[in-house]
């Protein structure tokens, strides 16, 4: 399968004029069927990702936050089709699929297997669990080399490339022949980062990359990710639940709740002037590492809604202290209220919300 022979899917996609986008996700859906009985009859769907729209610009970091079960991890995995999307389009400015070498827009959700495999060189993933994300039976060298082997790019010079990658992420050349169990959590995460970078990707989806690490190791890893972003001109989708970490690393932040996107804006703006009541409550709930901070916490009552049986109207209305009648009946539209500031709330214009 030669690359030149592969023709990119012609797309009717018109990228927005404003930015140099790299990824544009439109109306992405991922429903998991709930099966019951011997015949596995489908009795319902878990709408893990339900009509999610967002974009990533070249060289930037988009933080994707939300509570557990909100679909942020599923969204990240559906983009690169670890899960097959139920609906929606995922436009990506791909180089490998373009015959001329000039970046060209493709709809990843519609690519066939062979084309998708090629695009995977350009998008990598970093996982949360530093123990589970590395195959215990493979040496560090084999783990980092695997993407090269898969794409038939492993050659005589590759070992040198891997060594320099390992050194770049703060490991040593003599770690090459060691096995994952010999490393600490932070080092394992570095191995995972080296693997992600081995094909020179342009977009890296980081799925909770620091949440399993200790505080001091977390800082080292975040700094490393930022340095690598500069050196390799990477774009990140940074999926996390820790709002302070996301604020630190992200240029823009998107907030999800029960499979829906509720708000997306510049990080600074989102944290200081949120437009969605959920964003406001979520940020006020974060414990501040400052004993003199006067906490005016908004306690959200109840639990996160069940994505297989979500409430009517706006999914957040049962926990929202600003909810009015329309919120119970009509699903709010995700719209650009201010330039580059998107929100899905009926009352976004009138509410005066408090940031941190």
């Amino acid at each position: 399968m030669s690359e030149a022979a592969t023709v990119a899917t012609p797309s009717t996609y018109n990228p927005p004029k404003d930015g140099n986008l790299l990824l544009d996700v439109r109306g992405l859906k991922k429903y998991f069927p709930i099966q019951k009985g011997l015949l596995r009859r489908v009795v319902g769907y878990v709408k893990a990702v339900d009509d999610v729209t967002f974009f990533v610009r070249e060289g930037e970091t988009l933080g994707l936050v939300g509570e557990s079960g909100c679909g942020k991890t599923t969204a990240g995995r559906t983009i690169i089709r670890l899960y097959e999307p139920t609906g929606g389009e995922v436009y990506f400015k791909s180089r490998v699929l373009s015959p001329s070498g000039e970046p060209q827009w493709v709809n990843m959700a519609a690519l066939d297997r062979a084309q998708m495999k090629l695009v995977r060189q350009e998008i990598a993933m970093i996982f949360q669990d530093p123990i589970n994300s590395l195959n215990p039976r493979m040496s560090v060298g084999d783990i980092v080399a695997e993407p090269m082997v898969i794409h038939g790019k492993y050659g005589p010079d590759s070992e040198q490339v891997i060594i320099s990658l390992l050194e770049r992420v703060g490991l040593r050349a003599d770690h090459l022949r060691r096995y994952p169990h010999e490393f600490s959590g932070g080092q394992r995460q570095r191995i995972g980062i080296a693997r992600a970078l081995s094909m020179n990707p342009r977009l890296v989806i980081c799925d909770e990359p620091v949440s399993a690490l200790d505080v001091s190791i977390q800082a080292q890893t975040l700094n490393l990710l930022q340095d690598l972003q500069k050196d390799f001109n990477l774009s990140y989708i940074f999926v996390a639940h820790d709002l302070s970490v996301v604020q630190h690393i992200s240029d823009r932040v998107a907030v999800m709740y029960v499979g829906k996107m509720v708000e997306m804006a510049d990080a600074e703006e989102l944290y200081t002037a949120p437009l969605h009541p959920y964003t406001e409550a979520l940020m006020s709930a974060v414990p501040k590492p400052d004993p003199l901070y006067k906490s005016e916490r908004i306690i959200m009552q109840g639990d996160v809604a069940d994505p297989s049986n979500p409430p009517s109207g706006c999914y957040f209305h049962p926990r929202c202290r600003y909810a009015v009648d329309i919120c119970k009946t009509k699903t709010p539209e995700f719209r650009e209220l201010k330039p580059d500031h998107y929100v899905a709330c009926h009352r976004a214009e009138e509410l005066k919300l408090r940031g941190v």
Binding site: S216, I217, H241, H248, A285, P289, L292, V304
Partner: protein
């Protein structure tokens, strides 16, 4: 002096806990000091493996095999619930399966863990968990009329089943579970993560313990649920005047909850201070570095995070002198790698284990 000692609840003095594993001996706790007063919340912070959970287990005399307490003492100033007399017990000297420690565990010192799912028995309902705790530990005062004089004698009896159920419903209501009369019959899998942690708290509190050990109680929970749980714990503490030992690695949580903080590193207490002093005037370089290394919400900056260089040392090859010296930005060659610092008072109610504050001759 008298009043202080009356106030003291738990004193951990120079505690040592060792694990004898195949590859050698790990000093999981190596010279730990801790004081908890009645009604006080003490936060214990540190990275994973620093010995904070082991210390908590030592207080319950529940060190798992192959670990054992090899030195120091844990003084428990036990107050008799009827007479109010205070008797001092060294928990390390108790038989770990004996009658006394079983009364203390759960009855006088309650404990909640990080993972509420695995801490609850899947075949027991929420209510049954509480009945079990209550029937083991809770006694109801009964009034008896004496023969000679009209005199009330306070005695105790075990609770009946109906009373236990009432207590369970009441406890579930206190920890903020909606519809407690129905929820009391729910099994753990029917509850959400936040509700399970509330049930854990309800179990721990149902025997009216004088101290609660909370080992990372909110780490597995979402921030909105975490906020609810912290709220519940604070409310309960205000109403029942209970001491809390709050173990966490989350500096935000500890800043909100604790009055006093103990910082641990490699099994040692490196700093102890009141919460404001610790966050605003940290003395130990480890604490300083830890505070600098966390991203703070609302304070977006383009600068890199300060890091603590290197890794936590291998417990089989501990550094000489101060265990933190290989990672310490204030490392003084010839001093820190030779002399082991002692736990010295650096300020009013502020202790640190660092040679910067110690006059030593090289």
């Amino acid at each position: 002096m008298e009043s202080i000692s009356k106030d003291l609840f738990i004193e951990v003095k120079d505690l040592h806990v060792e694990f004898d594993v195949r590859a050698g001996i790990v000093k999981a706790v190596d010279g730990m000091f801790l004081e908890i007063r009645r009604g006080q919340t003490v936060g214990v912070i540190g990275e994973s493996g620093c010995g904070k959970s082991v210390t908590a287990r030592a207080i319950m005399n529940m060190i798992p095999k192959p670990g054992k307490i090899t030195g120091g003492e844990i003084l428990y100033h036990r107050r008799n619930r009827e007479t109010g007399e205070v008797q001092t017990i060294d928990i390390t000297k108790l038989d770990p399966d004996g009658e006394i420690i079983r009364q203390i565990r759960g009855g006088e010192i309650g404990m909640i863990f990080q993972e509420p799912m695995s801490s609850l028995t899947p075949v027991y309902t929420a209510g049954q968990h509480i009945y079990e705790a209550v029937s083991l530990h809770r006694l109801i005062p009964v009034k008896k009329l004496g023969d000679q004089m009209v005199e009330t004698i306070v005695a105790h009896r075990k609770v009946t089943k109906e009373e236990a159920r009432e207590i369970a419903v009441e406890m579930l209501r206190k920890v903020g579970i909606p519809k407690p009369e129905q929820r009391v019959d729910s099994y753990p899998h029917q509850l959400s993560g936040g509700q399970r942690q509330r049930v854990m708290i309800a179990i721990a509190l149902s025997c009216q313990p004088e101290m609660l050990i909370a080992d990372e109680p909110t780490t597995a929970l979402d921030v909105s649920i975490e906020a609810q749980i912290l709220d519940v714990m604070r409310d309960l503490q205000n109403t029942v005047n209970m001491a809390i030992m709050f173990i966490t690695h989350n500096l935000g949580v500890v800043a909100e909850m604790a009055e006093e903080i103990v910082v641990m590193y490699m099994g040692k207490q490196v700093e102890r201070a009141r919460v404001v002093d610790l966050f605003y005037k940290p003395k130990h370089p480890y604490t300083q570095a830890l505070l600098r290394s966390i991203p703070r919400i609302g304070k977006k900056s383009d600068v890199r995070l300060a890091t603590i260089e290197g890794m936590v040392p291998d417990p089989f090859h501990l550094p000489t002198g101060c265990v933190f010296h290989p990672r310490c930005p204030m490392f003084m060659p010839g001093k820190c790698d030779k002399i082991e610092p002692s736990n010295i008072q650096v300020d009013d109610h502020h202790w640190a284990r660092c040679l910067l504050y110690e006059e030593v001759k090289v």
